[in-house]
């Protein structure tokens, strides 16, 4: 134990220095100094509308590039060291589980293993990063539609995007405003600017609208470009956007090309983590190698043919499912009718016979499905024969009724059933509408005919390119296209600028929608069994969904030090705790060094913090998706607000704040115990204190985020402009 304690002091010193560096960086970022003297507080003035539109000399921001792209050998060496150290750590960690407190120890070790698996995926991504190359030249004859999708954004914001897309240099480009809000002032703006204006057609009345996916499906029937560039209302394209992305489509199997989303209204410190430099960077770049990059809703191009094919495939899927379900539902329906007839006071032999015939017909459809006969023949034949069975039955019953009435010699003015023309094809409807038919069989047949059909009448448009089974239609569509052998590409170059949410609640609701959407995909089309993927695509998709379970793992990692320091439940056996230094430290160090290397130019720290701090969002997404799948709730597409809410939003981060408080408290308790000399295992306690401190630093991002206030009043903004402060940069509030 003595040798270990001698290691302990440098270790503690290292941690302290790291902590102080972090604190001072934080403080420096908040204040302005001149000649070493503090002169004021730093405030970021977020522009309301893009300040650079139409201004000459405004150049595209350079796209941050991970050093891992340029130094593949060094990357692989570092990654290998990290992975080996990780396995070394795991080989110690599992036997060290303290079974005495298994209820905390086992979930914790599972959580750590999960986070280790995350590291393995990051390692795979880094291992395969390639230096980006120049995109292939665009095909000169291609036609491109630019869709500017809007729902409730202000007209001026959309106007900026429209004007910028008119400046796109590629010649055969036409711009359309897809206004799902159907606003007259937006129509006027489109007319003024001379671009197309598209709203939902009458077919959508009373049908599911499918949010953005439906908006695009509607527009696709009204425009004719071979390729579609999708822009959210606030995403302002640079003129070269099409030239840089179109060339990839010279590969005829290329369905989608995505470029990064970059936000001009974020301060450099990016308190809400909007820029996502890791995602729009190594993650998507790494996926290119395995043809598994996905679509992100805006700043991407799509091949119309691919989308339409996805639409037709989904239509066929929906029809097969519909007929199969109808056949399954038909049998109980018929059995019930048979049973009711037999039980009634006056059971009808003819009805029984008709129901049996219908039953046989349903069996024929089932057999046809098994033989994979075309659904058209199956359903048409079934409908015609069901109609005939019902009609024969009615005819027989009516004839019977007629005979009885003749025998009873009723007065001539009573309406005779014979007034009905038996050859009248609408007889069924008319009988049923008049409530005249005594025949359940008739009703049953009608219902079956309705069920076993092909029309997809519940949808406004039968063929919709974007998939609609998830609230993140973009990712789901890429998923579907990958299943059917299409290719996607991520082009790592900033080609548009947009606006990110500016307050914590909006940011959280956006993240919640993304995570929920991903779960919906996983629950409805399980990536483990979904056909059509290559092995690597399958693994990457499984990882994309597994990622959101880090929410659960994070809670365990946060609870670990609390349990040890406050409650005294060690998750690691006391006799193993010395292994912390020999097994955990190498892993920690290699992870940090690797991370520092590949994230050198990326400002990735926020992403790391949010990876942890979003844990309540991820957990809520799991909960929502499960309840959604069980039919207990209906998820909907939430349009991310473009206007920031005023005020401080600690309430929406209550879980993170709670953990912050408890972790800080437990760190103090631990330190105090060691200082007072009461602790029998000072090393283990200090490790837990360190662990708590790291958690606190990671979680503290929510304080920044909750108090972030980008919006200043118009008057204030004008005053600042008069003071010739450049909007969109850091200025000093004296």
């Amino acid at each position: 134990m003595y040798e270990l304690s001698s290691l302990l002091q440098p270790f503690a010193a290292f941690c302290l220095v790291a902590f102080l560096v972090m604190i001072s960086r934080f403080l420096v970022s908040r204040f302005t100094f001149r000649n070493g003297r503090l002169i004021g507080r730093r405030v970021f003035v977020a522009p309301r509308i893009d300040p650079h539109s139409g201004k000459p000399g405004w150049e595209r921001p350079s796209t941050p590039m991970s050093p891992a792209c340029h130094w593949p050998r060094l990357t692989r060496v570092l990654v290998s060291m990290n992975v080996v150290a990780g396995f070394w750590f795991m080989s110690w960690r599992w036997p060290a589980v303290n079974w005495e407190h298994w209820w905390i120890a086992v979930p914790l070790v599972l959580a750590e293993t999960h986070l280790f698996i995350e590291i393995l995926f990051v390692a795979t991504t880094l291992w395969n990063l390639q230096a980006p190359t120049e995109p292939p030249p665009p095909m000169p004859d291609a036609t491109v539609d630019v869709y500017v999708c809007t729902y409730n954004e202000p007209v001026d914001l959309v106007r900026g995007t429209v004007r910028a897309s008119k400046e796109i240099t590629f010649p055969n480009t036409r711009t359309y405003v897809l206004d799902d809000g159907n606003r007259p002032e937006m129509r006027r703006m489109a007319e003024d600017e001379g671009v197309g204006y598209i709203t939902r057609t009458a077919e959508w009345q009373g049908k599911p609208r499918h949010a953005k996916a439906g908006n695009i499906a509607n527009a696709m029937l009204q425009t004719t470009g071979e390729f579609i560039l999708l822009q959210d209302a606030d995403q302002i394209p640079y003129p070269e956007i099409v030239d840089r992305m179109l060339g990839y489509f010279s590969d005829s199997r290329m369905a989608m090309v995505q470029s990064p989303q970059w936000f001009y209204n974020c301060p450099p410190s990016d308190p809400l983590g909007s820029q996502q430099p890791i995602f729009y960077g190594p993650i998507l770049q790494g996926k290119n190698r395995f043809n598994s990059s996905f679509f992100c809703g805006s700043n991407g191009m799509l091949r119309r043919e691919a989308l339409m094919q996805a639409g037709v495939l989904q239509y066929v899927e929906a029809m097969e499912e519909r007929v199969r379900k109808a056949v399954d539902a038909a049998e109980p329906l018929l059995e019930k009718a048979l049973w009711e007839n037999r039980r009634s006071d006056n059971p009808s032999g003819r009805l029984e016979q008709a129901l049996v015939l219908l039953f046989e017909e349903v069996q024929r459809v089932r057999e046809g499905l098994r033989q994979r006969l075309p659904l058209q023949d199956l359903t048409w034949g079934f409908q015609q024969r069901a109609h005939r069975i019902a009609r024969d039955l009615v005819a027989a019953d009516l004839a019977e009724l007629q005979r009885r009435m003749d025998e009873d010699s009723l007065p001539k003015d009573v309406a005779r059933p014979a007034l009905y023309d038996l050859e009248d094809p609408d007889l069924a409807d008319r009988l049923a509408r008049a409530g005249l038919s005594p025949l359940q069989a008739f009703d049953v047949a009608r219902r079956l005919v309705d069920m076993i059909d092909l029309h997809r009448g519940e949808e406004a448009i039968p063929v919709q390119g974007f998939t609609t089974f998830s609230v993140t239609e973009d990712m789901a569509t890429a998923y579907f296209l990958h299943q059917h052998g299409w290719k996607t590409h991520y082009h790592h170059e900033i080609l548009a600028r947009g606006m990110a949410p500016e307050d914590l609640p909006s940011c959280l609701s956006q993240r919640l929608r993304w995570s929920e959407g991903a779960f919906q995909i996983a629950l409805r089309r399980n990536p483990i069994t979904a056909p059509g993927f290559t092995l690597s695509q399958r693994l990457f998709y499984i990882h994309s969904f597994l990622y959101y379970f880090t929410g659960v793992s994070t809670v365990m990692v946060l609870l670990g030090p609390i349990m040890y320091l406050l409650v005294g439940w060690p998750a690691i056996r006391a006799d193993s705790s010395s292994g912390m230094l020999t097994h955990f430290l190498p892993f920690l160090l290699t992870s940090q060094v690797t991370f520092l290397f590949w994230s050198w130019k990326l400002d990735a720290w926020r992403s790391i913090q949010y990876g942890i701090a979003f844990f309540p969002v991820f957990i809520k997404a799991i909960d929502n998706a499960v309840r959604d799948a069980l039919g207990l709730r209906q998820s909907r597409f939430v349009v991310t607000p473009k206007e920031a809410l005023e005020g401080v939003h600690l309430g929406s981060a209550r879980w993170q704040v709670m953990f912050l408080v408890v972790l800080t408290f437990s760190a103090f308790v631990g330190l105090w115990r060691v200082a007072a000399g009461w602790d029998p295992h000072p090393l283990a306690t200090l490790v837990n204190v360190l662990w708590a401190v790291v958690d606190v630093i990671l979680l503290s991002v929510v304080i920044d985020a909750a108090t972030y206030r980008p919006v200043i009043s118009e008057a204030e903004l004008r005053e600042r402009e008069r003071e010739s402060c450049r909007v969109g940069t850091l200025v000093t509030a004296e």
Partner: protein
């Protein structure tokens, strides 16, 4: 693309001529839906004079099928060439639509009620 049609009994035989692609699909869709609206519920689309079909064209056919089925009728394809058949297979639309070799065969299919 021109779309002619001939009324044969209760049915209409629609004969588009020229490519059925993203530029012409809307036209075909509109004429199919108009026919159904006029009360002709049984449609045969004769693709014999269509050298090329893309997925937008298939979309138009599906829209026609939807309209016809909702009205209690049907839409059938006749004289589909090898390339279009291949597209039907790729999109698995051949799981839904039956392909008939001649217009007569397609017309006869409307009457297949016999067991």
């Amino acid at each position: 693309m021109d779309t002619n049609y001939a009324i044969r009994g209760e049915c209409a035989v629609v004969c588009p001529e020229g490519q059925l692609n993203l530029l012409t699909a809307v036209k075909l869709k509109d004429s199919l839906i108009r026919l159904v609206g006029e009360g002709v519920k049984r449609l045969v689309v004769d693709l014999g004079d269509v050298p090329f079909v893309d997925t937008s064209g298939l979309g138009a056919l599906i829209s026609g099928l939807k309209a016809a089925r909702l009205a209690g009728g049907d839409l059938r394809l006749a004289r589909v060439d090898a390339r279009a058949k291949q597209l039907l297979a790729i999109t698995s639309l051949d799981r839904v639509l039956t392909v008939h070799d001649s217009v007569e065969e397609a017309l006869a299919a409307f009457e297949t009620v016999s067991r």
